[in-house]
Symmetry: C2
Subunit: 176 residues, 2 copies
């Protein structure tokens, strides 16, 4: 466990709905030391892995992904909610408890063979990042790893994503 990060995450009960204990990362982001330490650790991990593009998922993933891409001297590609990207897109969908969500990527967002790191703030069940993987594969990007600020280990996202390398900075169990 990395010191000084986990305690900067704030628990918000019943957000966005009753029964959910939401992990609020804004308290970590606004803490100068914690934020820069988190990005430094990710940077140190990936600096020698020749990452061409950091692919990050709307919206909190944009903060971490944008910063990490800058640390790695790489480019950054956005995966967004439907209707937000202005050029032609590919879509993929993933299941929610009720219904499905869609995410999109520009059809020219990745050049075939580019080495890609997929970044989001949170790994829960892995639904969103699973769809992001499909979009990156469709553009023939080479997925080096999936990186997260937080992992909710009890939701078993790793199992669903077992074909990929996964890294998270902070892990939470069910009762935390």
């Amino acid at each position: 466990m990395i010191e000084g990060l986990k305690e900067k995450i704030r628990n918000i009960p019943n957000f966005p709905q009753k029964g959910i204990l939401f992990k609020d990362i804004t308290t970590l982001l606004s803490d100068r030391k914690a934020y820069n330490k988190a990005i430094d650790i990710l940077k140190d991990r990936y600096i020698d892995m020749h990452i061409d593009l950091v692919v990050c998922i709307e919206a909190r993933g944009f903060v971490i992904g944008g910063a990490l891409a800058y640390g790695l001297n790489s480019g950054v590609t956005l995966i967004r909610k439907p209707g937000k990207l202005p050029y032609t897109t590919y879509k993929d969908s993933y299941e929610l408890e009720y219904g499905r969500n869609e995410i999109e990527i520009h059809t020219d967002a990745i050049k075939p063979g580019q080495r890609v790191l997929i970044v989001d703030d949170l790994l829960a069940t892995g639904g969103t990042v699973g769809a992001a993987i499909e979009l990156v594969k469709r553009l023939d990007g080479e997925i080096v790893e999936l990186a997260f600020l937080i992992e909710l280990t009890f939701l078993n996202g790793r199992e669903r994503l077992k074909d990929y390398n996964i890294y998270s900075l902070i892990q939470f169990g069910k009762e935390e």
Copy 2:
């Protein structure tokens, strides 16, 4: 004019609605050299201005703001659309062509007197950033400057925001 940035912006006609020539920044973001140059220039401008917090506006502003905060070794605070921030918030609204939009900030997102740089991808009429200024002032943040990747000079955002220092990396006139 900074070389090598403006030509990386893609024009998308009629997005998000007919008659709008949308400036697509994703082509700049995914270009390793252009993206890192843009953030480097912002970093060089602000590195000696003692910025405590980069306040960035959802969603594209998160990429630039997250990266710049990392470059400046500062924290980052998120201004988001309604219902997205999990803790208690202050809201402010701004006019659209039809109706109004709201944005929010956490009530504890800025400590009184913290030196704040407000960052967004685009300065158009200045409506969004005007609301962001009100939120930062409500938390007694000290606004050092407003920074943008792109400025649409013909929409006169600077006039509306004339009480503040404004910096943009790329400027577009009406026919560009």
